[in-house]
């Protein structure tokens, strides 16, 4: 156990000397996919609750497909599937993008978490009290202002507890990155395992690192909820 830690602690945490690995890579995968997913999810969630079926329909279909299939399959489609198509490899730009495992991984992760986030946000938007929207309309707000000032600030806050769940599930999903040769924590653990045959220690260290990240995330979100959801707390008399 000690020998493994001495020899590999750097690889587990941030670098094997050549690449970013371990915790640093996992956190990068998590933040990048969550950030892209969030930015895409807000407008898509607004589209998802649109009364117009031509706008709502495609977004529904997107979330249905991405939430109905395993992330592993999605990753395989992007990583091995798309690159096996000849016309993709013929295009220099597409070829350069899909050749790198990390690009495919980020694309698959971002689209996957985006689909779940869209449904979370759409649910929160639908749950906006009718009176709030009515009042905003009575003030003469345009639809855009209504969303910007009333619906989104309140819906995103109310979605926070569900969103934190999604972020933690996404962290768990980043473990799939090693199948696309991305050196995240689990990839380091697998390398250690095949070098030392000390499976329990190799994967145990990885598990402990993931648990620490989860506890940190839970703490962060709890702080966030205290700050942004203070208005929903039961009132003390």
């Amino acid at each position: 156990m000690n020998e493994i830690l001495q020899q590999y602690w750097q690889a587990y945490l941030w670098s094997d000397g050549y690449h970013i690995t371990g915790v640093a890579m996992t956190l990068w995968l998590l933040t990048a996919s969550i950030a892209i997913g969030f930015v895409l999810a807000v407008p898509l969630a607004v589209a998802r609750v649109s009364p117009n079926p031509l706008i709502r329909g495609p977004v529904w279909f997107y979330t249905y497909v991405f939430r109905g299939t395993p992330l592993y399959i999605q990753l395989l489609v992007f990583y091995t599937g798309i690159y096996s198509i000849e016309s993709v490899r013929a295009q220099p730009l597409l070829d350069a993008f899909f050749r790198e495992g990390i690009n495919c991984t980020l694309l698959a992760f971002a689209l996957n978490t985006c689909a779940y986030t869209v449904e979370i946000f759409a649910g929160a938007i639908r749950a906006t009290p009718y009176g709030e929207i009515e009042a905003a309309r009575a003030y003469g707000m345009s639809s855009f202002t209504l969303y910007r000032r009333v619906i989104l600030p309140s819906a995103l806050r109310r979605a926070l507890p569900y969103y934190s769940n999604e972020v933690i599930l996404m962290l768990h999903s980043t473990t799939l990155a090693f199948t696309a040769t991305v050196p995240d924590i689990l990839k380091v653990a697998r390398d250690v395992n095949s070098a030392t045959y000390a499976s329990f220690e190799a994967f145990g260290i990885a598990g402990a690192l993931y648990a620490v990240i989860v506890f940190a995330l839970v703490w962060l979100f709890r702080r966030g909820e205290q700050r942004w959801l203070a208005f929903l707390k039961p009132q003390a008399h």
């Binding site: 497909v65 109905g68 399959i73 395989l76 091995t80 599937g81 999903s173 689990l186 499976s199 329990f200």
Partner: protein, 229 residues
């Protein structure tokens, strides 16, 4: 030809996936029921043990637990067979998948059932005890049927997540949908097409189970009036 002759292979993989999902579901429901009872028991060490189990399992990614158990169990078994002087036994990926998925999702089911147990009005259990029912009979006739209504949305959720998690078991070597479609794709040089086929099969399974869950939810809500606004 249907799927260029890979139809039977992929069908076999689909059967494996469904079998794996059903068996591990059964195991995790059993673990969940036991875990929930432990969490609600008046016995303090039991409660702590169950809490440690659910916290630990739910904070570590399932793939890490899966690999950890798969490799360590194999090494443990090797030491055992070495010690006993018999030939090495290789752990079958299906069994490993069932054990790990059951163990992991047992933690999620523990939480689901704990909430559902608590949602059944206490008076119901008191009344049953007053009728002279033994604990097991109280569970079977009163607690379980009422608890199911509260547990069903959670069970449905866990089931959907678990179906998708079975895809991970191909990483430890099970010939499931993922493995079958990837093999078919590699040997026919049409990885894209066959990966999409794999995705569609999962989509069909999740869509179908959604329908079944809706039906079950209606069945277990018989006699419950919804508030009308």
């Amino acid at each position: 030809m249907f799927l260029q002759g890979f139809g039977p292979l992929i069908f076999e993989g689909t059967l494996q996936t469904i079998k794996l999902a059903l068996v591990s579901m059964l195991l995790s429901v059993l673990i969940g029921l036991v875990g929930a009872s432990a969490k609600l028991s008046s016995h303090r060490p039991l409660r702590y043990l169950a809490t440690a189990y659910t916290t630990l399992i739910r904070s570590v990614p399932d793939l890490v637990i899966m690999l950890l158990l798969f490799y360590s169990l194999q090494i443990l078994l090797n030491q055992l067979t070495d010690w006993a002087g018999i030939e090495q036994i290789d752990i079958d990926p299906f069994l490993a998948g069932v054990v790990t998925l059951g163990f992991i999702y047992g933690a999620y089911f523990t939480e689901t059932f704990r909430g559902a147990f608590q949602a059944v009005p206490r008076g119901q259990l008191e009344a049953a005890t007053a009728y002279g029912m033994k604990p097991w009979l109280v569970f079977r006739r009163v607690l379980f049927p009422q608890m199911m209504r509260f547990a069903l949305p959670g069970i449905g959720n866990n089931w959907q997540v678990m179906i998708k998690a079975t895809a991970l078991v191909s990483i430890i070597g099970l010939a499931d949908i993922v493995k079958a479609t990837q093999d078919a794709g590699k040997s026919s040089m049409q990885l894209f097409f066959f990966s999409i086929v794999g995705g569609l099969i999962y989509l069909a399974i999740t869509t179908l189970s959604n329908g079944v869950l809706l039906w079950l939810e209606r069945r277990y809500s018989v006699g419950v009036r919804k508030a009308e606004l």
